[in-house]
Amino acid sequence: MLSASLKRLWHKLGSPRWFFALTESWVKVAGWSALVLLVWGTIWGLGFAPADYQQGNSFRIMYVHVPAAMLAQSLYIGMGVAGFIGLVWRMKLTDVAISACLPLGMVITALALFSGSVWGRPTWGSWWEWDGRTVSTLVLFFLYVGIYALREAIADQELRARASALIAMVGTINIPIIKYSVEWWNTLHQPASFGLTQKPAMPSEMWLPLLVMVLGFYAFAGFIVLVRMRTEILNRELGARWVRDWVQVRSER
C-alpha cells in the first residue's frame, strides 16, 4: 500500500507534464528574485562596500567571480546527482535537467575563469596564474566539455541520456579527489601565494553583498535551468495532447 503510493509519487515526479505544471509559478519566483538580488548585490557591492586595504577597488570583481565559481561547481554536482537518479530509477526528466544545466554550467565556468583572470591582472600582475583554484576550475571546465562532446556524438536520445548521466556521476565522484590533489599540488609549488578570498576576517560590509550576489546567482541559475527544462519538455513532448492544449490555452489568452 505504502510502496504503491510511493511508486505513484515517483512516477508523478518523473512525469514531464506534472513538472511542467508545477514549475509554472516557480519560474516567476526565481526570475524576479534573481533580478532583485543581482541588482541589489551589484549596487551594494560596487557602490557601497568599502575598498580593500590591500587591493583597492579591484577586489570588487570578487562579487562576480566567487558566485560564478561556486555555481559552476554546484551545477556540475547537480548534473551528477540528476545522473544518479536517472540511472537508478530510469527517470527521464533527469536528462532534461542535465541538458539544461550543461550549457549554463559551461558558460558560468568560463565566466569564473575569465573573471579570475581579470582579477589576477592587478593582484598577481599576470592574466593567468596556475593557482590551485584556477586549475580546479579549469579541470571542471574540461569535465563539462567532455560531457558536451559525448552528448554531441550520440544521436539516440535515451542512450545519450544514459551515457551522459553515467559520465556526470563518475565526474562528480572524482571532483573531491581532483580538488584535493590540486590543492596539495598548489601548496607544494606556490606556498607563498596568498588566497584571494581567504582573507582573515573579511568585514561584514564586504561579505554581506557577496552573500546577496551568491543568492542572486543561484536564483538566476534556477531561473535559467527551469526555463530551459520547460522548453526542452515542450520540445520532446511536441506531439502529446497536453502540450497542444497548453499552447491553445496560451494563444487564446
Partner: protein, 212 residues
Amino acid sequence: MLTLEELVCERDGRELFAPVSIDVRAGDYVELTGANGAGKSTLLRTLAGLHSRYSGAFDSVDCLFQGHRLGLDGLLTPLENFAWFLGFEGRDADRERFLDALQRTGVLNKAYQPCSEMSAGQQRRVAMARWLLSSRSLWLLDEPLTALDASAQQVMAKIIVEHCQAGGAVVCATHSELPVAQKRLLKLEATQRTPDGSVHSGYRDFAKVQDE
C-alpha cells in the same frame, strides 16, 4: 520456454512494431519475419538482454544468441573460440566434441586456423558448430543464413530440426525461408498510430500510469 506479452521494442522514443504476444514452447521453430527495419534484430537483442527499451513483458530461459556479429575472436582458432564460449556455460573444453561439431558443419579442416583468415561463410559455419556444443535450449538467431551456400543451409535446417526434436526451441529472424517442415511464423507489423493521430513521445505519461 519463452513468453512474450504485448512486447513492443522502442528506439529513440519510437515504437518499432505493433505489440507481439507469443508463447514459444519446447520443440518450436519460430520464423521471425518482417520488412527491413521492422525491428527483427531489435526484438532478438531485447530477448537476449542487449536492448533495454521496451514495453510489455517477456520471460525467457537462458539463451544462445547469434547476432550480425558472430562473436568469434578473429585471432583465435575455432577450438579456442569454443573453449572460452563454453566457459560461460561452466563447461570444460572437449576437443573430440569440438572436432565432431566442426566436421558436422564442414569446416573440420579449419580447426587450427585463426578465424580471421576464413571467409565469411566459413566463419558462419564455425559459429553454427558452436550451436551444437552449447547446452542452452533456446536459440535466438539473427539472419543466420547470410553468406551460406546451399549445402550449409541444408545442414543448418537439419541442425535446427534436430534441436527442436530434442526439446529445444529456435527463434530465427530471416528473409529467406529455411527448409524446415514444421514452423511457426511471427511477422512484425508496423505500429498503428492512435486514432487521434498523436505520436508516441517516448515518455510515460502520468495520466496513463494512473489509469493502469
